[in-house]
Protein backbone atom coordinates (compact mmCIF):
# COMPACT_ATOMS: atom_id res chain seq x y z
CA UNK A 1 0.00 0.00 0.00
CA UNK A 2 1.24 3.42 -0.83
CA UNK A 3 0.83 5.89 1.98
CA UNK A 4 2.82 9.08 2.23
CA UNK A 5 4.82 9.63 5.39
CA UNK A 6 6.46 13.01 5.54
CA UNK A 7 4.80 15.05 8.34
CA UNK A 8 3.40 14.70 11.87
CA UNK A 9 -0.01 13.75 10.55
CA UNK A 10 1.53 11.15 8.28
CA UNK A 11 3.62 9.86 11.18
CA UNK A 12 0.48 9.42 13.29
CA UNK A 13 -1.29 7.82 10.37
CA UNK A 14 1.12 4.88 10.42
CA UNK A 15 -0.25 3.89 13.85
CA UNK A 16 -2.38 0.73 13.63
CA UNK A 17 -6.06 1.55 13.80
CA UNK A 18 -5.60 5.22 12.93
CA UNK A 19 -7.65 4.85 9.77
CA UNK A 20 -10.48 3.25 11.76
CA UNK A 21 -10.41 6.17 14.19
CA UNK A 22 -10.74 8.61 11.32
CA UNK A 23 -13.68 6.62 9.93
CA UNK A 24 -15.39 6.63 13.33
CA UNK A 25 -14.96 10.41 13.52
CA UNK A 26 -16.57 10.79 10.10
CA UNK A 27 -19.48 8.57 11.12
CA UNK A 28 -19.97 10.71 14.21
CA UNK A 29 -20.57 13.65 11.93
CA UNK A 30 -17.14 15.29 11.80
CA UNK A 31 -17.11 16.30 8.16
CA UNK A 32 -13.57 17.67 8.41
CA UNK A 33 -12.29 14.22 9.32
CA UNK A 34 -12.94 13.18 5.75
CA UNK A 35 -10.14 15.48 4.70
CA UNK A 36 -7.83 13.43 6.92
CA UNK A 37 -9.07 10.28 5.24
CA UNK A 38 -8.30 11.79 1.85
CA UNK A 39 -4.83 12.81 2.98
CA UNK A 40 -4.20 9.19 3.93
CA UNK A 41 -5.51 7.63 0.76
CA UNK A 42 -5.47 10.13 -2.11
CA UNK A 43 -2.12 9.15 -3.59
CA UNK A 44 -2.83 5.41 -4.05
CA UNK A 45 -6.40 6.12 -5.13
CA UNK A 46 -5.40 8.66 -7.75
CA UNK A 47 -2.55 6.44 -8.96
CA UNK A 48 -4.84 3.44 -9.41
CA UNK A 49 -7.34 5.56 -11.31
CA UNK A 50 -4.61 6.93 -13.55
CA UNK A 51 -3.05 3.53 -14.21
CA UNK A 52 -6.42 2.07 -15.16
CA UNK A 53 -7.71 5.02 -17.19
CA UNK A 54 -4.42 6.34 -18.53
CA UNK A 55 -5.58 9.93 -18.69
CA UNK A 56 -4.71 12.53 -16.14
CA UNK A 57 -7.92 14.56 -16.23
CA UNK A 58 -10.12 11.50 -16.38
CA UNK A 59 -8.27 10.04 -13.40
CA UNK A 60 -8.94 13.20 -11.41
CA UNK A 61 -12.63 13.02 -12.27
CA UNK A 62 -12.64 9.36 -11.24
CA UNK A 63 -10.93 10.15 -7.94
CA UNK A 64 -13.44 12.88 -7.16
CA UNK A 65 -16.40 10.63 -7.90
CA UNK A 66 -14.81 7.76 -5.98
CA UNK A 67 -14.36 9.90 -2.87
CA UNK A 68 -17.97 11.07 -3.02
CA UNK A 69 -19.12 7.46 -3.28
CA UNK A 70 -16.83 6.49 -0.40
CA UNK A 71 -18.34 9.24 1.74
CA UNK A 72 -21.89 8.26 0.90
CA UNK A 73 -21.36 4.56 1.62
CA UNK A 74 -18.89 4.80 4.48
CA UNK A 75 -21.47 3.54 6.98
CA UNK A 76 -21.50 0.22 5.06
CA UNK A 77 -17.77 -0.31 5.61
CA UNK A 78 -17.03 -2.77 8.41
CA UNK A 79 -14.33 -1.53 10.73
CA UNK A 80 -11.30 -3.79 10.92
CA UNK A 81 -11.52 -4.89 7.31
CA UNK A 82 -9.04 -3.77 4.65
CA UNK A 83 -10.12 -0.23 3.88
CA UNK A 84 -7.77 0.10 0.91
CA UNK A 85 -9.24 -2.95 -0.80
CA UNK A 86 -12.74 -1.55 -0.22
CA UNK A 87 -11.64 1.85 -1.52
CA UNK A 88 -10.01 0.28 -4.60
CA UNK A 89 -13.21 -1.59 -5.36
CA UNK A 90 -15.16 1.67 -5.46
CA UNK A 91 -12.42 3.33 -7.51
CA UNK A 92 -12.27 0.48 -10.04
CA UNK A 93 -16.07 0.59 -10.42
CA UNK A 94 -15.94 4.34 -11.03
CA UNK A 95 -13.16 3.83 -13.59
CA UNK A 96 -15.22 1.17 -15.39
CA UNK A 97 -18.21 3.54 -15.45
CA UNK A 98 -16.08 6.30 -16.92
CA UNK A 99 -14.60 3.93 -19.50
CA UNK A 100 -18.10 2.95 -20.59
CA UNK A 101 -19.03 6.62 -21.00
CA UNK A 102 -15.79 7.42 -22.80
CA UNK A 103 -16.09 4.61 -25.31
CA UNK A 104 -13.34 2.27 -26.49
CA UNK A 105 -10.46 2.05 -24.06
CA UNK A 106 -7.24 3.78 -24.95
CA UNK A 107 -5.27 2.80 -21.89
CA UNK A 108 -2.36 4.71 -20.42
CA UNK A 109 -1.01 6.18 -23.65
CA UNK A 110 -0.32 9.78 -22.74
CA UNK A 111 2.48 11.49 -24.57
CA UNK A 112 5.60 12.31 -22.65
CA UNK A 113 5.02 16.01 -23.25
CA UNK A 114 1.75 15.85 -21.31
CA UNK A 115 3.34 14.50 -18.14
CA UNK A 116 4.00 17.93 -16.70
CA UNK A 117 3.46 17.10 -13.06
CA UNK A 118 5.78 14.12 -12.94
CA UNK A 119 8.67 14.33 -10.54
CA UNK A 120 12.07 13.83 -12.18
CA UNK A 121 15.43 13.77 -10.54
CA UNK A 122 17.97 15.99 -12.27
CA UNK A 123 20.63 13.88 -13.91
CA UNK A 124 22.22 12.83 -17.13
CA UNK A 125 20.01 13.85 -20.10
CA UNK A 126 20.67 10.46 -21.74
CA UNK A 127 19.55 8.62 -18.61
CA UNK A 128 16.45 10.79 -18.39
CA UNK A 129 15.61 10.00 -21.98
CA UNK A 130 16.09 6.30 -21.37
CA UNK A 131 13.90 6.48 -18.28
CA UNK A 132 11.18 8.25 -20.18
CA UNK A 133 11.37 5.71 -23.00
CA UNK A 134 11.00 2.92 -20.49
CA UNK A 135 8.02 4.60 -18.86
CA UNK A 136 6.37 5.22 -22.20
CA UNK A 137 6.87 1.57 -23.08
CA UNK A 138 5.23 0.44 -19.86
CA UNK A 139 2.32 2.81 -20.42
CA UNK A 140 1.82 1.47 -23.93
CA UNK A 141 2.03 -2.08 -22.67
CA UNK A 142 -0.64 -1.36 -20.05
CA UNK A 143 -2.73 0.28 -22.75
CA UNK A 144 -2.69 -2.92 -24.79
CA UNK A 145 -4.47 -4.87 -22.04
CA UNK A 146 -8.18 -5.31 -21.51
CA UNK A 147 -9.64 -3.30 -18.58
CA UNK A 148 -10.02 -6.45 -16.46
CA UNK A 149 -6.44 -7.56 -17.11
CA UNK A 150 -5.11 -4.07 -16.49
CA UNK A 151 -7.00 -3.73 -13.21
CA UNK A 152 -5.79 -7.11 -12.00
CA UNK A 153 -2.19 -6.34 -12.94
CA UNK A 154 -2.26 -2.84 -11.45
CA UNK A 155 -3.69 -3.97 -8.13
CA UNK A 156 -1.79 -7.23 -7.88
CA UNK A 157 1.69 -6.30 -9.16
CA UNK A 158 1.92 -2.49 -8.99
CA UNK A 159 0.01 -1.82 -5.77
CA UNK A 160 1.07 -4.97 -3.97
CA UNK A 161 -2.36 -6.34 -3.09
CA UNK A 162 -2.59 -10.04 -2.38
CA UNK A 163 -4.69 -12.19 -4.69
CA UNK A 164 -7.49 -12.25 -2.09
CA UNK A 165 -7.42 -8.47 -1.63
CA UNK A 166 -7.35 -7.85 -5.38
CA UNK A 167 -10.26 -10.26 -5.81
CA UNK A 168 -12.22 -8.37 -3.18
CA UNK A 169 -11.36 -5.04 -4.80
CA UNK A 170 -12.42 -6.24 -8.24
CA UNK A 171 -15.46 -8.21 -7.05
CA UNK A 172 -14.31 -11.45 -8.68
CA UNK A 173 -12.98 -14.81 -7.49
CA UNK A 174 -9.29 -15.18 -6.58
CA UNK A 175 -8.86 -17.72 -9.40
CA UNK A 176 -10.09 -15.08 -11.86
CA UNK A 177 -7.57 -12.55 -10.55
CA UNK A 178 -4.75 -15.11 -10.87
CA UNK A 179 -5.79 -15.89 -14.44
CA UNK A 180 -6.20 -12.24 -15.48
CA UNK A 181 -2.93 -11.16 -13.89
CA UNK A 182 -1.06 -14.05 -15.54
CA UNK A 183 -2.56 -13.20 -18.91
CA UNK A 184 -1.60 -9.55 -18.44
CA UNK A 185 2.00 -10.46 -17.51
CA UNK A 186 2.33 -12.60 -20.61
CA UNK A 187 0.92 -9.84 -22.82
CA UNK A 188 3.22 -7.19 -21.34
CA UNK A 189 6.18 -9.46 -21.87
CA UNK A 190 5.16 -10.13 -25.50
CA UNK A 191 4.55 -6.42 -26.09
CA UNK A 192 7.97 -5.46 -24.77
CA UNK A 193 9.71 -8.26 -26.71
CA UNK A 194 8.00 -7.21 -29.95
CA UNK A 195 9.05 -3.58 -29.55
CA UNK A 196 12.58 -4.48 -28.61
CA UNK A 197 12.90 -6.86 -31.53
CA UNK A 198 11.72 -4.07 -33.82
CA UNK A 199 14.32 -1.72 -32.32
CA UNK A 200 16.94 -4.50 -32.46
CA UNK A 201 18.05 -3.86 -28.94
CA UNK A 202 17.89 -5.41 -25.53
CA UNK A 203 15.86 -4.39 -22.51
CA UNK A 204 16.68 -0.75 -21.85
Amino acid sequence: MEVESSGPFEAASTRPGFLDEVIIRIRRGEVDAFEDLMALTEKPLLTVAWRILGERDLARDAAQEAYLRIYRSLDHFRLGENFHAWMYRITVNVCYDLMKKRGPSMGPTEDLENLTGEYQEPGNPEEDLLLEQRRALVRQALGSLTPAERSALVLRDLHGLSTQEAAMALGVRPATVRSQAASARAKVRAFCARLLRRNAGGFP
Binding site: G29, V31, E42, L115, A182
Partner: protein, 208 residues
Amino acid sequence: MNQKHILNLLPLWVGGDLSRREAESVKVHLSKCESCRAASEALQASQAWLKRAPEAPFDATDFAELRKEVMATIRAHPNPSFREGDGFSFFRQPSALAAACATVLVVASSFWMLNRHHTGPLSPSSPVATQAPAPPLGPLPAPLPSPSAGRAPLHRYLPKPAPQLAANPVESVPSRIEIQTSNPQIRIIWLARALPAPGPLYQPTHPS
Protein backbone atom coordinates in the same frame (compact mmCIF):
# COMPACT_ATOMS: atom_id res chain seq x y z
CA MET B 1 5.38 -31.37 -17.25
CA ASN B 2 6.19 -30.58 -20.85
CA GLN B 3 7.66 -27.34 -22.15
CA LYS B 4 4.34 -25.86 -23.30
CA HIS B 5 2.78 -26.43 -19.90
CA ILE B 6 5.76 -24.81 -18.19
CA LEU B 7 5.56 -21.78 -20.49
CA ASN B 8 1.88 -21.42 -19.56
CA LEU B 9 2.75 -21.59 -15.88
CA LEU B 10 5.57 -19.04 -16.04
CA PRO B 11 3.36 -15.91 -15.64
CA LEU B 12 1.79 -17.47 -12.56
CA TRP B 13 5.19 -18.53 -11.26
CA VAL B 14 6.59 -15.00 -11.65
CA GLY B 15 3.66 -13.57 -9.72
CA GLY B 16 3.95 -16.15 -6.94
CA ASP B 17 0.52 -17.58 -7.71
CA LEU B 18 1.53 -21.24 -7.92
CA SER B 19 1.30 -23.82 -5.18
CA ARG B 20 4.55 -24.86 -3.56
CA ARG B 21 4.58 -28.17 -5.40
CA GLU B 22 3.97 -26.58 -8.81
CA ALA B 23 6.53 -23.85 -8.17
CA GLU B 24 9.10 -26.49 -7.28
CA SER B 25 8.34 -28.40 -10.51
CA VAL B 26 8.81 -25.21 -12.56
CA LYS B 27 12.05 -24.46 -10.78
CA VAL B 28 13.40 -27.94 -11.49
CA HIS B 29 12.40 -27.69 -15.15
CA LEU B 30 14.04 -24.27 -15.54
CA SER B 31 17.32 -25.64 -14.24
CA LYS B 32 17.33 -28.12 -17.13
CA CYS B 33 15.64 -26.30 -20.04
CA GLU B 34 17.54 -23.45 -21.69
CA SER B 35 14.66 -21.97 -23.73
CA CYS B 36 12.25 -21.95 -20.78
CA ARG B 37 14.90 -20.28 -18.65
CA ALA B 38 15.32 -17.55 -21.28
CA ALA B 39 11.53 -17.06 -21.38
CA SER B 40 11.37 -16.76 -17.60
CA GLU B 41 14.20 -14.21 -17.59
CA ALA B 42 12.41 -12.09 -20.20
CA LEU B 43 9.23 -12.29 -18.17
CA GLN B 44 11.03 -11.28 -15.01
CA ALA B 45 12.68 -8.36 -16.81
CA SER B 46 9.31 -7.07 -18.03
CA GLN B 47 7.95 -7.46 -14.50
CA ALA B 48 10.87 -5.41 -13.19
CA TRP B 49 9.92 -2.70 -15.67
CA LEU B 50 6.38 -2.77 -14.42
CA LYS B 51 7.52 -2.51 -10.81
CA ARG B 52 9.36 0.65 -11.78
CA ALA B 53 6.20 1.80 -13.50
CA PRO B 54 5.73 5.48 -14.15
CA GLU B 55 4.91 7.61 -11.17
CA ALA B 56 1.45 9.09 -11.37
CA PRO B 57 1.67 12.61 -12.81
CA PHE B 58 0.13 14.27 -9.79
CA ASP B 59 1.73 16.66 -7.34
CA ALA B 60 0.69 18.43 -4.14
CA THR B 61 -1.33 21.00 -6.08
CA ASP B 62 -3.44 18.28 -7.68
CA PHE B 63 -4.10 16.66 -4.31
CA ALA B 64 -5.01 20.01 -2.73
CA GLU B 65 -7.45 20.79 -5.54
CA LEU B 66 -9.01 17.36 -5.29
CA ARG B 67 -9.52 17.76 -1.53
CA LYS B 68 -10.99 21.22 -2.00
CA GLU B 69 -13.51 20.06 -4.58
CA VAL B 70 -14.54 16.95 -2.68
CA MET B 71 -14.83 18.72 0.69
CA ALA B 72 -16.92 21.52 -0.84
CA THR B 73 -19.39 18.96 -2.18
CA ILE B 74 -19.47 17.03 1.09
CA ARG B 75 -20.02 20.14 3.18
CA ALA B 76 -22.84 21.23 0.87
CA HIS B 77 -24.47 17.78 1.00
CA PRO B 78 -23.48 16.04 4.25
CA ASN B 79 -24.50 12.43 4.70
CA PRO B 80 -27.71 12.50 6.79
CA SER B 81 -26.83 9.20 8.45
CA PHE B 82 -23.68 10.75 9.98
CA ARG B 83 -25.16 12.82 12.81
CA GLU B 84 -22.98 14.30 15.47
CA GLY B 85 -23.66 12.88 18.92
CA ASP B 86 -27.28 11.82 18.42
CA GLY B 87 -26.59 8.60 20.29
CA PHE B 88 -28.21 6.39 17.66
CA SER B 89 -25.25 5.78 15.42
CA PHE B 90 -24.80 2.33 16.98
CA PHE B 91 -28.31 1.29 16.00
CA ARG B 92 -27.76 2.39 12.40
CA GLN B 93 -25.38 -0.48 11.89
CA PRO B 94 -27.17 -3.48 10.35
CA SER B 95 -25.63 -5.94 12.80
CA ALA B 96 -26.73 -3.86 15.79
CA LEU B 97 -30.25 -3.60 14.39
CA ALA B 98 -30.42 -7.37 13.94
CA ALA B 99 -29.18 -7.91 17.50
CA ALA B 100 -31.81 -5.50 18.87
CA CYS B 101 -34.57 -7.30 16.95
CA ALA B 102 -33.38 -10.68 18.25
CA THR B 103 -33.37 -9.37 21.84
CA VAL B 104 -36.92 -8.05 21.55
CA LEU B 105 -38.04 -11.38 20.09
CA VAL B 106 -36.44 -13.37 22.92
CA VAL B 107 -37.95 -11.14 25.62
CA ALA B 108 -41.39 -11.29 24.03
CA SER B 109 -41.32 -15.06 23.69
CA SER B 110 -40.15 -15.38 27.33
CA PHE B 111 -43.14 -13.37 28.52
CA TRP B 112 -45.44 -15.47 26.39
CA MET B 113 -44.03 -18.69 27.80
CA LEU B 114 -44.35 -17.35 31.36
CA ASN B 115 -48.01 -16.49 30.82
CA ARG B 116 -48.67 -19.84 29.25
CA HIS B 117 -47.33 -21.82 32.19
CA HIS B 118 -48.53 -19.45 34.85
CA THR B 119 -50.18 -21.37 37.72
CA GLY B 120 -50.21 -18.81 40.51
CA PRO B 121 -52.86 -16.20 41.22
CA LEU B 122 -53.50 -13.88 38.35
CA SER B 123 -52.57 -10.27 38.63
CA PRO B 124 -55.42 -7.81 39.06
CA SER B 125 -54.59 -6.25 35.74
CA SER B 126 -55.32 -9.48 33.93
CA PRO B 127 -58.57 -9.30 31.97
CA VAL B 128 -59.50 -12.79 33.21
CA ALA B 129 -59.44 -11.61 36.79
CA THR B 130 -62.11 -9.02 36.08
CA GLN B 131 -64.70 -11.71 35.50
CA ALA B 132 -67.12 -12.64 38.19
CA PRO B 133 -65.79 -15.21 40.62
CA ALA B 134 -66.67 -18.74 39.71
CA PRO B 135 -69.22 -20.49 41.89
CA PRO B 136 -67.89 -23.15 44.21
CA LEU B 137 -67.17 -26.32 42.40
CA GLY B 138 -69.29 -29.31 43.06
CA PRO B 139 -67.95 -32.64 44.21
CA LEU B 140 -65.49 -34.20 41.85
CA PRO B 141 -66.80 -37.10 39.80
CA ALA B 142 -65.92 -40.52 40.99
CA PRO B 143 -62.67 -41.88 39.60
CA LEU B 144 -62.82 -44.23 36.69
CA PRO B 145 -62.92 -47.82 37.78
CA SER B 146 -59.86 -49.88 37.18
CA PRO B 147 -60.26 -52.85 34.85
CA SER B 148 -59.93 -55.17 37.77
CA ALA B 149 -62.89 -53.58 39.52
CA GLY B 150 -65.27 -55.01 37.04
CA ARG B 151 -67.37 -53.35 34.46
CA ALA B 152 -69.48 -50.52 35.81
CA PRO B 153 -72.96 -49.92 34.53
CA LEU B 154 -72.82 -47.96 31.31
CA HIS B 155 -75.49 -45.44 32.25
CA ARG B 156 -73.23 -44.16 34.98
CA TYR B 157 -71.04 -42.52 32.36
CA LEU B 158 -73.74 -41.23 30.13
CA PRO B 159 -74.87 -37.61 30.51
CA LYS B 160 -77.70 -37.16 32.89
CA PRO B 161 -81.06 -36.91 31.25
CA ALA B 162 -82.54 -33.49 31.01
CA PRO B 163 -84.94 -32.75 33.83
CA GLN B 164 -88.55 -33.36 33.09
CA LEU B 165 -90.51 -30.32 32.29
CA ALA B 166 -92.63 -29.27 35.13
CA ALA B 167 -96.29 -28.77 34.70
CA ASN B 168 -95.76 -25.09 35.19
CA PRO B 169 -93.10 -23.95 32.70
CA VAL B 170 -92.27 -20.88 34.75
CA GLU B 171 -91.06 -23.04 37.59
CA SER B 172 -88.89 -25.31 35.42
CA VAL B 173 -85.36 -25.88 36.68
CA PRO B 174 -82.65 -24.48 34.38
CA SER B 175 -79.99 -26.80 33.01
CA ARG B 176 -76.43 -26.01 34.06
CA ILE B 177 -73.38 -27.22 32.16
CA GLU B 178 -69.94 -26.46 33.49
CA ILE B 179 -66.75 -26.86 31.49
CA GLN B 180 -63.42 -26.58 33.26
CA THR B 181 -60.64 -25.18 31.07
CA SER B 182 -56.95 -25.99 31.50
CA ASN B 183 -56.62 -22.82 33.52
CA PRO B 184 -58.14 -23.56 36.94
CA GLN B 185 -59.24 -19.94 37.22
CA ILE B 186 -61.42 -20.14 34.15
CA ARG B 187 -64.63 -22.16 34.08
CA ILE B 188 -67.28 -21.88 31.41
CA ILE B 189 -70.81 -22.17 32.71
CA TRP B 190 -73.72 -22.62 30.38
CA LEU B 191 -77.22 -22.14 31.71
CA ALA B 192 -80.25 -23.11 29.71
CA ARG B 193 -83.89 -23.20 30.57
CA ALA B 194 -86.46 -25.12 28.64
CA LEU B 195 -89.52 -23.09 27.78
CA PRO B 196 -92.75 -24.51 26.50
CA ALA B 197 -93.42 -24.15 22.87
CA PRO B 198 -95.76 -21.28 22.09
CA GLY B 199 -98.19 -23.68 20.55
CA PRO B 200 -98.56 -25.72 17.47
CA LEU B 201 -97.34 -23.73 14.55
CA TYR B 202 -99.35 -25.75 12.15
CA GLN B 203 -102.67 -27.24 12.93
CA PRO B 204 -103.90 -29.50 10.23
CA THR B 205 -107.47 -29.09 9.42
CA HIS B 206 -109.16 -32.38 8.90
CA PRO B 207 -112.28 -32.33 7.03
CA SER B 208 -114.80 -33.77 9.32
